[in-house]
Subunit: 468 residues, 2 copies
Amino acid sequence: VTALNRLKAIVGSHGWIETPADVARYATDYRRLYGGPTPIVLRPGSTAEVASIVTACAEAGLAIVPQGGNTSLVGGSVPTAHGGEVILSLERMNRIRAFAPSDATITVEAGCTLAAVQAAAAEAGQLFPLRLGSQGTCQIGGNLSTNAGGSNVLHYGNARDLVLGLEVVLPDGTVWDGLRALRKDNTGYNLKQLFIGAEGTLGIITAAVLKLSPQPKAVETAFLAVPDVDAAVALLNLVKDSAEYGVTAFELMSRASLDLAQARLAGGRTPLPLEAAGWFVLLEIVGGGTLNDALMALLTEAQDRGLLLDGVVAGSLAQAEEFWRLREEISDAQTAAGGSVRCDIAVPISRMADFITAASLAVREIVPEVRIIAYGHVGDGNVHFNPLRAVEAAPEEFLRHAPAISHVVDDIAHALGGSISAEHGVGQAKRDELPNYKSPVELDLFRLIKRALDPRNTMNPGKLLARS
Amino acid sequence: VTALNRLKAIVGSHGWIETPADVARYATDYRRLYGGPTPIVLRPGSTAEVASIVTACAEAGLAIVPQGGNTSLVGGSVPTAHGGEVILSLERMNRIRAFAPSDATITVEAGCTLAAVQAAAAEAGQLFPLRLGSQGTCQIGGNLSTNAGGSNVLHYGNARDLVLGLEVVLPDGTVWDGLRALRKDNTGYNLKQLFIGAEGTLGIITAAVLKLSPQPKAVETAFLAVPDVDAAVALLNLVKDSAEYGVTAFELMSRASLDLAQARLAGGRTPLPLEAAGWFVLLEIVGGGTLNDALMALLTEAQDRGLLLDGVVAGSLAQAEEFWRLREEISDAQTAAGGSVRCDIAVPISRMADFITAASLAVREIVPEVRIIAYGHVGDGNVHFNPLRAVEAAPEEFLRHAPAISHVVDDIAHALGGSISAEHGVGQAKRDELPNYKSPVELDLFRLIKRALDPRNTMNPGKLLARS
């Protein structure tokens, strides 16, 4: 109680939440799969308050779960079932601290939503290119802590590629001010990249200097039906080989995943009839004045090579947004459908078709009637391969097979040189699987680093690595 | 002696060098500024041999300096004056292990020269975009250990941005096999980025999976005279704002730096008369069929805005290579001239003109007669700001002022939010300056990581951090 009172005093009366009804949305993830009891939710308003909280918690032996928009798909942003962690929400730290358009940089606090960062950049005619379905809710601190990917990685890189500097509160409460705005700096270990993607287990990211890009002069968006995954990959290579434009998105979607999304969008018209094919691609390219000509030439070439069954090019921004809405609706539609297993897989791009074929077969051996909700950022070798119960099957019944499905899909990805978590991270969901796919040498290095930076294991314990 | 015999047995008779005359070129850096005594030079032929060496050295308490092409500008690849380190040259580990053009990846051993990697990629019509003056000599393992920059960073990123996976021999002799070929992989701490740029102080990079890019369809190279540094930065922003092409290089060169290079190239004709301006820019852009038109439009626009005094566009590949030869000759020409201080500075791009003005003034207060050899990758906010003795001044006399010059230039860069080593690293040269410009928090983190991974401090001791 003394410790909690000290924490309350640090953040002031608006800065903490204890009422169970109000705590609930912080203590449970948005899919209601993960969560646990917490003594208190703290909402600090400044880096100094975060530092004081971390110091107080260290002294009281309290563990901390840092939380952004709580959109984690792996239970990374909520307590473990074990519970007892203080939840430290960054949501009140949502200021743009500095904006330097002439340097194409912006300095933001961790609690800014991704959409707010995008909007601030856009106001000055620039682009912050990270693009996620959850961008209205997720926060940039969480995006960086999890090295978010999304739909623009192909052209602009992952979240870690968009960061010039960081401010981090370390596990002992000291503040590392690494808010540099430099494109090049070779003065020591790259601490920044250690904290990015560490899922809050090494410290709390409180602010960042982000790289901006010029807004594209012209954008073309096309919705394409392809014969199969092999054709999609061949199309990708054809698209990437152009000098006339940049490829900002190449999203593959299985017929079944679009069926789900369409149903949830009240069955509106899809850009192409979904009966046309088993696989579809959402393509976005950026360039200059002759972009539309270049796209038309590309599509003709693709058709000649047998890589394209049909296609439609967005005639307006509104139509392009419709294409994207369909793509972005898949994830929520699947959650709403209930009874699915999420596998966030990466493989070398040349193995994508092999992976999908082998994984689909293997899953059907476990559950013959299953819908393969496969979609994602195939341009990066990343597919969300999510087996979903048949329409008539009960979710609980299907989910009995979840561990077996997850296991076999991850095994196949691993055997093809792949990753069992391309962009979602490890969190609680994949933590106990990690030792099956990582060498003891690599896990030892993880533990060595964790112990060096967080010897008391108070920073997001039980995520990524088991509580030891 | 027993330890040395064990080391000799590991590498076999071709794998070691003891004769002082033969050892010399390994034990001294190429500018003959750094170096120290070594008991033996080891040239292992495989990762297994490297691992055995590291294990044997750990057991014998012998320190190791890993060495690539020995082109370090900061004494990173040779023993300290203190000496006693075994030199482990990777030069015999120069195989291309795998090449997957359809995934745009190549797996190479650390001892491949950068030029060999470039050539292997080019053979399959692809591009490994790292470009350095020393590319015929420097080795990829050294490039990664130092996070090399060079002339293509603007478009393709630093060395660390070109790496998908690594193989590293750790300080205890175990091998971390992180040779993954994935664009996305969020399964734990980013170990790869910790070893990249660590200057061999955390382990020895023995192999890497590198990302390749499509070769540009068209390249245009222009040699431009600009009114001043402000105009150069404004020109950079104008160039970068185009959607018609990518900007692969934007190299600024002071008149004095070109004078040196021209003299060393036997005084051949320069692309523009050097009397035309105080500052010149080497611009390279890549794109498609209409690239030349786009360049011409750009240059017209730049001239209208008063950003350009004169310019010439390379009419052939040979002419473009001439432009580049002039640029790349500057560094060696300066070394040959003797008596200069190298400051490898980065600042936010908008502060570049302020930096050069302030630093030039400050240096002239110390040594009124001085040539400002300033050149480099201004597109990345990086300039090599190298005061050089006046023609009539004796090198030794001038170099008495080196510490004061270095200090004041670094101070100015730091005050502008900059870095005292943008791409050269820390090594021995900048080690003792680091504490003036890094916070104790950051240095503590460096030491924490160093101690966790290399508790005996046998990996390149005395580089980056002081021997403790």
